[in-house]
């Protein structure tokens, strides 16, 4: 029987033929932790009493609370610096960026890889035809020490997205629509493969947004094919040789779903679950107190660009706090060069250091009781942005920018002319 992408790549890393349902010990190409998970990684690593298996295959990233907002976090950051110095492993310190931007941007991922991260959104690199998934700290520590871990070969779901994307909609709207339709547990422990001409038409940066949110329907992997755009992207960013994987024509899928996006409207996830999705019209007029553009889902250059187009020579609504967090230092600098940062600051927004702060509620825009935010992040769980008595809506960068102008959730298609 033919193999899915997950079966192909896990077979390559197990050194034996594996199929869905098998459990195999596999070699891992790269692994990393962030500052929310590295404290326990270091603790478990110490308990294992081993050495780092390969110093070039492990890195740590300080991004979840960056720069540190309190003593507890500063203590973890310092321990990470000490550990990185002692073990001679790569540390991306404060100000460098969000792990899911840095790891691919700095060339640690290529096609056909098997990657583990102590962060649930590690599935982001599926857009590069890599099998990448999040694990906990102890699992990650085991891989740091041994270069391996055990994997259950998952069943796969094939999702085919077709049609031409309407103006004012983006890859964020596609994935919100898919999650809204399929539900938060539709893909638990499964590998999702994304295909279709609508995916092919997207830039690699836009595809990251889709793979990033595969975990929001429970998926272990959210992987795509290595088309010429992907091969070009990895060649530009990594010196490693890509080993593209393709699913066999007779591979078995537990489920095949098709989505036509020709008439897709901008999508918004309502509080407090990511699958609580409606078209923007259904929530148009909901008053907002804060807008966030950034995160591992939508903090890339094209995301900042679309927001800048909407905000250029305009002011955000009085009383709205708008926070922009570029996903990496490189993106920040490019946004400065292209004038986006000036547009944001001039509009009344704050451009903060690259990091995850607003999304995980550690700092940079914690909400007051009964306040409402609209964010480009991937989670709107109660309390996610730091206050359980607040509400979070999720949308595309265009939807967030449009909403910040009016102080109410707004349809970005009203700015169609600017978005051409």
């Amino acid at each position: 029987m033919g193999k899915t992408l997950a079966e192909k790549i896990l077979t390559n890393h197990a050194g034996r033929d594996v199929h869905a349902g098998d459990i195999a010990v596999c070699n891992v190409d790269f692994c990393f932790g962030q500052d929310g998970t590295s404290g326990l990684i270091m603790e478990s690593f110490k308990k294992l009493g081993a050495n780092v298996f390969d110093k070039t295959r492990f890195a740590m990233v300080i991004d979840h609370s960056s720069p540190s907002p309190n003593i507890g976090v500063s203590t973890v950051h310092k321990a990470m610096r000490d550990f990185a110095n002692e073990k001679e492993v790569k540390l991306f310190d404060v100000g460098e960026g969000v792990c899911h931007q840095l790891i691919p941007e700095r060339g640690y991922v290529t096609c056909g890889d098997l990657i583990l991260g102590a962060d649930s959104h590690t599935c982001t690199y599926g857009a590069l035809n890599a099998l990448a998934t999040g694990v906990g700290s102890t699992d990650l520590a085991i891989t740091v020490a041994t270069g391996k871990n055990w994997f259950k070969v998952p069943e796969s779901i094939k999702i085919i997205v077709s049609g031409k994307m309407p103006a004012g909609t983006y890859s964020k709207d596609i994935i919100l629509h898919i999650i809204g339709t399929m539900g938060a547990k539709a893909a638990t422990y499964k590998s999702v493969e994304f295909y279709g001409n609508a995916i092919k038409a997207l830039s690699v940066d836009s595809r990251f947004t889709i793979s990033n949110m595969a975990i929001e329907m429970g998926a272990k992997f959210g992987i795509m094919e290595a088309d010429p755009k992907v091969l070009k992207w990895v060649k530009q960013h990594s010196i490693r040789q890509p080993n593209p994987a393709f699913a066999d024509p007779d591979a078995h899928y537990g489920e095949v779903r098709e989505f036509d996006i020709t008439k897709l409207a901008p999508q918004v996830a309502r509080p407090h679950t990511v699958d609580n999705v409606v078209s923007v019209e259904a929530v148009g007029g909901v008053k907002i107190d804060e807008g966030v553009i950034g995160t591992c889902t939508n903090g890339r250059l094209e995301d900042l660009e679309v927001a800048a187009k909407i905000l250029k020579n305009r002011k955000i609504h009085r009383g709205v706090k708008m926070i922009v967090a570029p996903a990496s230092k490189g993106i920040y600098l490019e946004a400065v060069k292209r004038g986006f940062v000036e547009i944001f600051v001039d509009a009344g927004a704050m451009v903060v250091a690259p990091g995850c702060g607003p999304c995980v509620g550690t700092h940079n825009g914690v909400l007051a009781d009964n306040e409402t935010a609209i964010s480009t992040a991937n989670r709107n769980f109660k309390g996610r942005m730091g206050n359980p008595n607040s509400n979070i809506y999720l949308g595309s960068p265009a939807t967030v920018a449009a909403s910040c102008l009016t102080g109410r959730i707004a349809d970005p298609r009203e700015h169609k002319k600017r978005l051409l």
Binding site: G36, L40, G72, G134, D139, T188, F381, R384
Partner: protein, 183 residues
């Protein structure tokens, strides 16, 4: 009332365990942010202190109600969302004997077993808050004493059973020199 308490998730899963069921008001899709909020997990590294904030955003008194050995009972997709190991760590630190749910999210599932926290999958519609339960590993059932019914449990995969029996994944690796994945 509890007749006997066993704290003993480590080691052999042979012994029958008696426990009180605890449900919380949200049934399905309880995410790891709810189990332990980012407000606390980034700031607090002492598991005992962290454990006081379990379910802080949805059921802040929960940690006061549970006694060591009790079972937490939930619905579908328990532990979805973030990969934070602090979630099962805090539940384990509270002394919970097991978490029972209709299904678990995969990262949480691995993390819990890795730390030696037992997870049992069954139809939890047959278990209410306060029910007295008896987990009978040999028969793969939970006997709900309060209702007088047996609830079938999905068999625990061999590797996960060994990890629990060894007291967690680190101990499992030290004991066996690698993962014992054979069925």
């Amino acid at each position: 009332m509890k007749k006997k308490t066993s704290y003993a998730m480590a080691h052999e899963i042979k012994e029958e365990i008696l426990a009180t069921a605890h449900r919380i008001k949200i049934k399905d899709n309880i995410n790891t942010d709810y189990i332990i909020s980012g407000r606390y997990k980034f700031r607090i590294s002492d598991p005992k202190e962290l454990a006081q904030y379990v379910f802080n955003d949805i059921d802040p008194e929960f940690y006061k109600r549970v006694k060591p050995g009790d079972f937490l009972v939930a619905g579908e997709n328990f532990g979805c969302g973030s990969s934070r190991e602090q979630a099962p760590l805090a539940l384990k630190t509270l002394g919970l004997g097991a978490v029972i749910a209709k299904s678990f999210a995969r990262i949480f599932y691995r993390n819990a077993f890795n730390l030696g926290l037992l997870l049992l999958e069954c139809n939890t519609n047959y278990i209410d808050d306060g029910d007295q339960l008896k987990y009978i590993p040999e028969k793969s059932v939970i006997y709900n004493e309060s209702k007088g019914i047996n609830v079938d449990i999905k068999p625990i995969p061999a590797l996960m059973r060994r990890i629990i029996e060894d007291g967690g994944v680190i101990e499992h690796l030290k004991k066996n020199g690698g993962f014992r994945i054979e069925v």
